[in-house]
């Protein structure tokens, strides 16, 4: 695949992720959407890496993937708590952090 089409794919992933995040009310889907956007960003990094300096960007992608895995674990745990406490998990029922 040419790098141009990879750019397009990455852009689609990011846009789709952000759109999903804003359009869905279900916390789990929102989480998935953000992961999709993140994957888009990762892909973008890899495309740049193949063109310019490979090592730093690849290391960054590996780090992001590791952090994302950990973050998903935390987020899912938080989600589980929300469901247990509130009975369902939509974004409009958790607003305790209002300043």
């Amino acid at each position: 695949m040419s790098s141009f089409s990879l750019f397009i794919l990455a852009a689609l992933l990011i846009a789709g992720g952000i759109a999903g995040f804003f359009l869905r009310k279900d916390l789990l889907t929102m989480l998935l959407s953000s992961e999709v956007a993140l994957s888009g960003a990762n892909l973008l990094l890899l495309v740049f890496a193949s063109q310019a300096s490979p090592t730093e960007a690849q290391a960054a992608v590996l780090a992001i993937l590791t952090v994302a895995a950990a973050e998903v674990a935390v987020a899912l745990a938080a989600l589980a708590v929300v469901i247990r406490e509130k009975g369902k998990a939509t974004e409009d029922i958790v607003s305790e952090m209002k300043g």
Binding site: F22, D92, V94, S95, E96, M97, K98, G99
Partner: protein, 607 residues
């Protein structure tokens, strides 16, 4: 030999320290022994030093201040002037300590009282033995503090608390001048030792010497209650009577005279400064004496009399007769403290200070009556008694310098005799007015009074040896007056004094009531309205000014700034909390918006 000097200075300090730290643990009896004993030791060592130390001695203890060009040592100076003062101070203080054992016997603040009294004696001796201005200033402030504490000793009484504050604040005004004088002398000479200042006084420009001398004299008018800062002394009578005798009659208030005598060459360098000293002194003497004529509070009469007599001392020093001024200080210490102690004895017996409620005490309190009469004769300048010799010297010396000062002095001597005997006739003669039973005071009180009575007579007999003793200072000088002239002057003042006593007798005993001649009487009774004038001229504008500043500057600007910054933070937080909606999507929206904005900026730059 000079080590003796530490034995003069430190016992009262030790006594005060023990009383302050361990006072509660000591029995009343041991306080009654400890405190007078501390001062007694001080007195005995001064006496010993007086006989053993020939001429001058100084005891170096440690370097005290060493900053830049300023080098001040903590050392003690014993010379003819300080020896006389140390003896007078420790001697009178010792007697008054003993008297206080009786007078303050019933007071719940007994230990506190003696702690202050010891601390005072220490401060006064420090002032006297100081070899330089900064150390003298420490003593000067120390006695001021003790004076404040003892005037307000019965602080639960509002008048006493206010009197203490008044004394402190008025003295602050004087001390401000005193400090400026010290600073000026330091910039002029670079050294603050008395010896150095006196030795180099003649190298000063006359105008510089005048400025320094007058600034220091402002301090003296505060401490020694002269015009314009005398107003605190009459109010200071709110303190216990022995305190009035010790601090506000015999010792502290004469500190100004001592200071001027100490720095006489500096004053002599400037003719103007000496003239100011002499004129302020004599005018104060006359002014205070007229007020004393009509006061009804026995202690206030004595207070104005003290102001008046200190005026004489300043007049004496101011006309150049240091030994005469100092001699009056010396004799006055005895008879004036005796007057106060005897008045205290009356107050102790009757429980009132108003002479209109006394009368006829002569039979009930014979010792008090006799010692009071002796002291009154001494202060009135009746030949044979101490005050006659000292006052006469001052007047004779004044006559040579300025006939006007002499004339005012003689008239004041007449006024003095009048108000003293008015006091005696109102208190001890006539019929009892309003009291039932009076009794003579216990021996612990009459004893010191008898000793002082003895000195009120004999202390005046030694003027020529007193003068000779001070002579080594180098600036002690008396003008000669022809004998016939001197006898004439003496006759004039004695005659006037006798006349005044006769007049007092006629008015207050024979006629039985005083004159109440309207306007002048009212003016004098209200002390020329000086307190009211000061109130209107200084106190009220100051208070109102403070109020304005408090309202507009303090509350408006200072508080406004401080509270404003708090309010700013609070409002800022409230504004920013708009972003903290608590909803996940809002946060994400702001983040996305931020990213878009950042991209926009970056791309804009790149293109």
């Amino acid at each position: 030999m000079s080590l003796l000097l530490s034995g003069v200075l430190f016992p009262p300090a030790l006594g005060a320290l023990i009383l302050i730290l361990l006072g509660r643990l000591l029995s009343k009896r041991s306080v009654s022994w400890l405190s007078p004993a501390a001062v007694g030791i001080s007195f005995l060592t001064s006496l010993l030093s007086f006989f053993l130390i020939k001429g001058k001695a100084s005891l170096y203890l440690f370097p005290w201040l060493s900053v830049g060009g300023l080098q001040v040592d903590f050392s003690l100076l014993w010379d003819p002037l300080s020896s006389i003062m140390a003896l007078t101070v420790s001697g009178v203080s010792f007697l008054i300590h003993i008297y206080s054992v009786g007078y303050m016997g019933e007071d719940p603040g007994y230990r506190r009282y003696f702690a202050y009294l010891n601390l005072f004696t220490f401060s006064m001796l420090l002032l006297v033995l100081a070899p330089n201005l900064p150390m003298m200033f420490v003593g000067w402030e120390g006695v001021g503090l003790c004076s404040y504490l003892l005037i307000g000793f019965w602080f639960e009484k509002e008048t006493a608390a206010n009197a203490g504050k008044k004394a402190f604040i008025v003295n602050r005004v004087g001390d401000f001048g005193f400090l400026l004088g010290i600073f000026l002398l330091f910039t002029l000479l670079g050294n603050l030792n008395f010896d150095y200042i006196n030795y180099h006084a003649n190298s000063l420009a006359p105008s510089a010497a005048t400025a320094a001398a007058l600034l220091l004299f402002l301090g003296a008018t505060g401490k020694s209650a002269q015009i314009p800062l005398y107003i605190w002394l009459p109010d200071a009578m709110e303190g216990p009577t022995p305190v009035s005798a010790l601090i506000h009659a015999a010792t502290m208030v004469t500190a100004g005279v001592y200071m001027v005598s100490r720095l006489f060459p500096l004053y002599a360098r400037s003719g103007l400064a000496l003239n100011v000293v002499a004129w302020v002194g004599i005018i104060t003497a006359a002014f205070a004496a007229t007020i004393a004529l009509v006061q009804n509070d026995i202690k206030r009469v004595l207070a104005y009399s003290t102001i008046s007599q200190i005026g004489y001392m300043f007049a004496g020093v101011g006309v150049g007769a240091v030994s005469a001024g100092m001699f009056h200080l010396f004799t006055h210490a005895f008879f004036k403290s005796l007057l106060f102690l005897a008045a205290g004895s009356v107050i102790h017996a009757l429980g009132t200070q108003d002479m209109r409620e006394m009368g006829g005490l002569r039979k009930k309190m014979p010792i008090t009556f006799w010692v009071f009469t002796i002291a009154a004769l001494a202060i009135s300048g009746i030949p044979g008694f101490a005050g006659f010799f000292s006052k006469d010297q001052i007047l004779a010396q004044a006559y040579i310098r300025s006939k006007a000062i002499w004339a005012i002095g003689v008239v004041t001597a007449g006024l003095t005799a009048f108000y003293m005997f008015r006091l005696i006739f109102m208190t001890f003669f006539g019929e009892p007015r309003g009291w039932k039973n009076a009794h003579e005071s216990p021996p612990v009180m009459t004893g010191p009074m008898l000793v002082l009575a003895f000195f009120s007579v004999v202390s005046g007999w030694f003027f020529s040896s007193f003068h000779g003793w001070l002579k080594p200072l180098g600036y002690i000088h008396l003008e000669e007056l022809p004998e016939s002239k001197e006898a004439l002057l003496m006759g004039a003042s004695v005659g006037l004094a006798l006349l005044a006593i006769g007049l007092a007798w006629w008015i207050y005993l024979k006629r039985g009531k005083g004159f109440h001649t309207g306007f002048i009487h009212k003016l004098l009774l209200n002390k020329y309205y000086v307190d009211e004038i000061y109130n209107a001229a200084f106190v009220i504008p100051y208070r109102e000014g403070s109020r304005l500043i408090s309202r507009y500057f303090d509350i408006g600007i200072i508080d406004g700034t401080v509270e404003g910054s708090g309010r700013l933070t609070l409002q800022g937080g409230r504004l920013m909390s708009f972003f903290q909606s608590g909803f996940l999507k809002d946060y994400a929206l702001w983040m996305a918006a931020g990213v878009v904005l950042a991209l926009f900026v970056m791309l804009g730059r790149a293109l």
